[in-house]
């Protein structure tokens, strides 16, 4: 009797360990694949998003959904975006995300809306009150990567994909936090009169 019990226990333990190993292997296999080289046709398509006539909101190209919104949900792209934020000097006007000469990305208020296409358009074409156009300085894919990152800074909801960590000390809430309600309560910053009533 006792022998039977220990044998059953051993079998149970072995199969649990086996399941754990297979599970870990599966998790490793499921790892998000990195798309290091986007196909040129897909790249070209990235410029073909549609924007509303007032420059706020619109629709990304079809292929963006077919690729499962890679610039919002892919940790590699978000991390590249974070790198580009420093490389292209966004901090000169937007600080660490809290804003300076340019508006804050952290407060949850978007002068031109929170959609990816609005942010992409802001970066690519510039905006009238002092946001320079980066059309000639970055490739369209980099603009999408950067937009994904900027959107994450002021995200309303936490994402599964996160950027790389900061090497320096944190000066503000991290990008992949759950939304901090109090940050959103301060209200909009730097709204210009022709941008409609304050939200």
């Amino acid at each position: 009797m006792v022998r039977g019990r220990t044998l059953a226990n051993r079998l149970l333990l072995t199969s649990a360990l086996l399941a754990l190993t297979v599970g870990c292997g599966f998790l490793g296999w499921m790892r998000q694949p990195r798309e290091l080289r986007t196909n040129p046709p897909v790249l070209a398509d990235l410029s073909r998003f549609r924007l509303m006539s007032n420059g706020i909101g619109g629709a990304p190209p079809e292929s963006y959904f077919a690729e499962a919104e890679p610039y919002e949900n892919d940790a590699y792209n978000l991390s590249q975006g974070k790198r580009l934020y420093t490389w292209f000097g966004c901090a000169a006007c937007h600080g660490d995300g809290r804003g300076a000469a340019g508006p804050s990305f952290l407060d949850g208020w978007w002068l031109y809306g929170p959609e990816m296409v609005s942010i992409v358009a802001s970066i690519r074409d510039g905006r009238p009150h002092g946001m320079p156009a980066f059309r000639d300085r970055m490739t369209i894919e980099q603009i999408w990567q950067l937009a994904g990152y900027v959107q994450t800074i002021g995200a309303y909801s936490a994402k599964v994909a996160a950027t790389g960590r900061n090497d320096g000390p944190q000066t503000r809430p991290s990008e992949n936090r759950a939304p901090a309600v109090m940050l959103f309560e301060e209200g909009p910053v730097g709204v210009n009169p022709d941008q409609g009533p304050s939200p």
Binding site: L36, R37, P40, A44, D136, R137, M138, T139, E141, Q142
Partner: protein, 329 residues
């Protein structure tokens, strides 16, 4: 007997890996020579110790059990063990002292003939020949020129992750750590081209993060430095002229500097004299017009994950830009 050709071939293959221009046991610079001496000294001592131990072991296995009394045997054992412990202490102390003196010898001397800054980036080497006069300061990438027989002080920095600077034929290995400056003495006794390689895993393209150290006589070095200090040459041929216009209008100029033009980006290598370098993309390809075109057309296929994006270009733009790059001697 049938195995022997294979053994011979593989031995030859292994030994041939030890000559060439990237080898710690074929040193061509004072620091590397000190290290090679230390290395062969330690290997010799350890070999001797190993042989002694083996001889003792065989002797212990073969000898007859002595018929001395328990006490005498105990005494013999005590003497042997104490002698062995004493010898070990002496040998280890000797090696420690030898390694202390070697470290001292490869340290940075009071004044070096030349100080350069090497900044590791994923995945290339930025090389800055700084001068108190900013007009005389210039940069290269993945290619370091040094005068033969002079002490060169290399300041090592990193912008992203830990890299390691290793030119085995000339010096030891030293890490590049973000947020600090490390120092290394580089010195070549003989002219030549020595290959170096990042020796600390730093991400996807760690394997393709090589550099060339070109040691030349002081006059040639001075001539090279004067040429590098100058602004980029103006393109002469029509395709290169068109290439320059395209280069400045495209995102290239936001990442790369070509002194003498409006291109002043700093995130990629300085291209002012890119055509004069032996290789591009950290030792990946030899610098030819064809390889430049291949690189610019599709950097992510040649070096997946590197930080230069594929910039959409028409075939004419690509041809012109490659001609321009090649003309930047």
């Amino acid at each position: 007997m049938r195995m022997s050709p294979i053994i011979w071939m593989s031995t030859i293959a292994i030994i041939s890996g030890c000559t060439g221009n990237q080898s710690a046991i074929n040193p061509k610079g004072a620091p590397a020579i000190h290290i090679a001496h230390l290395m062969s000294g330690i290997v010799a001592v350890c070999t001797l110790v190993w042989l002694l131990v083996m001889v003792m072991l065989v002797w212990a296995l073969l000898r007859k059990r002595s018929d001395a009394g328990e006490q005498a045997r105990e005494r013999g054992l005590t003497t042997t063990v104490s002698a062995a412990v004493g010898a070990t202490a002496v040998i280890i102390a000797g090696m420690t002292i030898a390694s202390f003196y070697t470290t001292r010898d490869i340290g940075i001397p009071g004044e070096a003939a030349l100080t350069i800054t090497v900044r590791g980036q994923q995945w290339w080497w930025q090389v800055i020949y700084a001068d108190p006069d900013p007009a005389l300061t210039f940069q290269t990438a993945n290619e370091i020129h040094i005068p033969v027989g002079r002490d060169v002080h290399v300041q090592l920095e990193s912008t992203d992750v830990v890299h390691s600077f290793w030119v085995p034929s000339l010096a030891g290995k030293q890490d590049l750590v973000p947020g600090r400056t490390n120092s290394l003495l580089l010195r070549a006794e003989r002219p030549g081209i020595y290959r170096g390689q990042c020796a600390e895993f730093c991400g996807l393209q760690h394997t393709h993060m090589a550099m060339m150290v070109i040691a030349e006589d002081p006059e040639s070095f001075e001539r090279w430095a004067v040429a590098q200090r100058g602004n980029s040459v103006n393109p002469g041929k029509p395709d290169a002229v068109a290439g320059q216009v395209a280069f400045i209008a495209k995102p290239c100029a936001a990442c790369h500097t070509v002194r003498g033009t409006p291109a002043m980006g700093t995130t990629g290598p300085d291209l002012t004299h890119v055509g004069s370098r032996k290789t591009i993309a950290a030792g990946l390809l030899e610098t030819t017009r064809g390889s430049l075109a291949a690189w610019i057309a599709d950097p992510q296929t040649l070096k997946p994950g590197n930080n230069m994006p594929m910039v959409p270009l028409t075939s004419v733009e690509l041809k012109n830009i490659s001609a321009y790059m090649e003309s930047l001697k």
